[in-house]
Amino acid sequence: MLDRFESRLDGEFAEVDRARLLERLAAALPPHRLIATPESMRPYETDGLAAYRSLPAAVALPADADEAGAVLRACRELGVPVVARGAGTGLSGGALPFPGCVLLALGKLNRILEIDPLARTARVQPGVRNLAISEAAKPYGLFYAPDPSSQLACSIGGNVAENAGGVHCLKYGLTVHNIVKLEALTIEGERLTIGSDALDAPGFDLLALLTGSEGLLAVVTEITVRLLPIPADVKTLLVAFPDARCAAQAVADIIAAGVIPAGLEMMDALALRAAERFAHAGYPEDADAILICECDGHAGDAGAELERLADICRAAGASLIRLAKDEAERTRMWAGRKGAFPAMGRLAPDYYCIDGTIPRRRLPDVLEGIAELSRVHGLAVANVFHAGDGNLHPLILYDAQAPGQLERAETLGGAILELCVEVGGTITGEHGVGREKINQMCVQFSEAELTAFAAIKAAFDPAGLLNPGKAIPTLARCAEFGAMHVHHGETRFADLPRF
């Protein structure tokens, strides 16, 4: 199981006497912010990927960058791995602790330090919740655009670590497009300022490198985000199709016609029916697929754009096109989409959320491929997509109590991700590799590419102490995992010794 850290495959670390570690941490933190008993560490044993659980040696809760730096220095000196954690909502096990490591929980760094309405920026600590930034900016007519579905709970620090996306990133971009500056700590506890308050910074674009680096390069202690003016008007359309292929075609036609909606979401028959029963969103249950299209901007333009969108959908064979007539109906349309995950609880005891991205034109083929894999592995799959940018979230339905089902779900998930890579896509669109997809990285990247990633990591963290066993697999792991795989018709890592 991937929730076990395996030295042979994930990296070797010297045994460290736990008492000595706790003594050093106690010098860095007041007693109430150092947690070390198994019972009190229990809430930290997992993140949003609850299937994986493991306890660290200790949980450190620094209150500021100085304390975080002191913890890092102690770990660096002792050679103890460090796993940074924000709100713990991540879906790929990126904040999963391993035995012997220190879990650096940044939730106490939770202050909004400054909102500058003229510069349209907010300076915040990493533990601030994503939605709290938009709430604080609202009185100034501004908002923070990236809106992952967990935005009520997820922290901005975690968003930076994962390069989080959301429903509106088709138009407004990912986290990397919406932050301007970071204060970060190296594993040595040294402060780095990355990016600037200007639109660029001298030297390499380290802001881009750090965003989405999943806690492997540095620990972020402060973030300056870009705020956008709240759009003047927002209009939302619900479109139903008798055939999912037509819906997929409509998505491609919309983009080709030069329309970039603020949001363009798709749900297949299984997902929309579950969501309808859960949220009463007004979705037609006889449809094979629905699209939710949202346009924003000047009232006249958003309306005109929506009309063009409706025309395209009609031409693609839509069976129903409904404009939300007021805010209440608009909220209801979205409630179904946002409730799609919890709605799966009505279909099966457990679900496993997959996160791949594919070129839009391959959507119909991939839908068929997923249906076929679903048949082969004997588990139902409901599909929810950020269709506008080709980001799929197949939800595999299973029962963890039934013997073998979790393993089957994992195998099916892996097969879906490999299908995404095969059609020119990627194994993760927005959830990150974390621990979950560490093996699939061996499918997407070559040995030379993984070696380059490792070299980049070593430039920041030569001892490999920051979040080992996540995001970038060792070649030893790929040799073992890759032995089962054939990539581009060749056996991979042929020159490495097999175990």
Partner: protein, 361 residues
């Protein structure tokens, strides 16, 4: 038309193997290489005196499907060829790179990281790069990112190539996210003095206005609006001023505006938009709604860097550098050391454009 082009690499224009071999040889001999494309930006950055390695022959659009909003092209593809193909499908490069000559290549656009007047409103080069295939300092072909917008697998080394001036790798192929051409554009000029214009813009940009350019030439504030018909009409009426030809913005984009003319050293200051312009020279014009200031100065570079840094930004001697002097804002020692380690991670023999970005890289 597009799907027929998709993912069918043409044999002609693919010189990756030869480029790789040149790098391998250079690395073995520890002999520096000076990477060139169309050779239109030799003035930018420091000079490097290695053996020329031209990527100009590695050219051609590899895949372009307008419904994907992505173009994939080899680095030596002329920028003009890419833009012509996009225009035929009503699409464009959102970051509006300067066209500094007909030979200018897509690889050079990415390596220089220079973005045009749309930058504050539509993003920079790095924001639009979705993936890159590079040759590292060993001559190994590495592919990072891909052709999809949402992709968080692995470190974003493709974005790191933007603006790195070839120091970290030879760009072979890039995929770029595209934007649909706006439905309506308008240009207008207002008689607003520089300081007032900076204040006015900061206030204006708190509202959702369809700005796509804001340039001040020392006398007038020039604005460009891009978007839907209704929004552009409404804000044009509100702002007033004189309507002007959209071609004005071609000159701004291509750095041909008369305010920037002349042979003397030209400084580029990148500043927080709302910061006052530091008194380290004569501001000739500003772009990016105030966040990019073009300046002439007789002061020593150190004084200009200090002034720009104190204002929260940085300065580059954009044109007119002499000898082996630094042109980019110096990095703090710890930051420079990190840059050196990153360079060594991808180019341990130090053969790719050594000294092009900083003397110590």
């Amino acid at each position: 038309m597009p799907t027929s082009l998709a993912s069918e690499p043409r044999a002609t224009g693919d010189i990756a193997a030869a480029l790789s071999e040149s790098i391998r040889r250079a690395a073995a001999e520890r002999a520096a290489l000076a990477i060139t494309g169309g050779d239109t930006k030799a003035f930018y950055g420091r000079s490097t005196d290695g053996e020329p390695l031209s990527i100009a022959g590695h050219r051609g659009i590899v895949a372009y499907d307008p419904s994907e909003l992505v173009v994939v092209a080899r680095a030596g593809t002329p920028l003009a060829e890419v833009e012509t193909a996009l225009a035929a499908n009503g699409q464009q490069l959102a970051f509006e790179p300067p066209r500094l000559g007909p030979a200018s290549t897509l690889g050079g656009v990415v390596a220089s990281g220079l973005s045009g007047p749309r930058r504050p409103f539509a993003g920079a080069v790095r924001d639009c790069v979705l993936g890159a295939t590079i040759l590292d300092g060993h001559g190994r072909q590495l592919r990072f990112g891909g052709q999809v917008f949402k992709n968080v697998a692995g470190f974003d080394l493709f974005r790191l190539m933007a603006g790195a001036l070839g120091v970290l790798g030879v760009i072979l192929e890039v995929s770029i996210r595209l934007a649909p051409a706006p439905r309506r554009e308008a240009a207008l000029a207002l008689e607003t003095p520089s300081a007032d214009a900076r204040r006015k813009l900061a206030e204006l940009m708190r509202r959702p206005v369809p700005l796509s350019g804001a340039f001040h030439d020392g006398r007038q504030l020039h604005l460009r609006l891009s978007g839907g018909e209704a929004g552009v009409e409404a804000i044009s009426r509100e702002l007033g001023g004189e309507s002007e030809d959209l071609a004005f913005w071609d000159a701004v984009r291509d750095l041909r505006h008369p305010a920037l003319a002349g042979d003397g050293p030209l400084w580029r200051l990148s500043l927080p938009q709302s910061a006052p312009i530091p008194p380290v020279g004569e501001a000739l014009a500003w772009d990016w709604a105030g966040a990019l200031v073009w300046m002439r100065s007789d002061l020593a570079p150190e004084q200009i860097w200090r002034g720009a840094g104190a204002a929260g930004g940085h300065a580059t001697l954009f044109r007119g550098a002499s000898g082996g002097a630094e042109v980019f804002q110096p990095l703090a020692p710890a930051m420079l050391a990190l840059h050196q380690r990153l360079k060594a991670a991808l180019d341990p023999a130090g053969v790719l454009n050594p000294g092009r970005l900083y003397g110590a890289l």
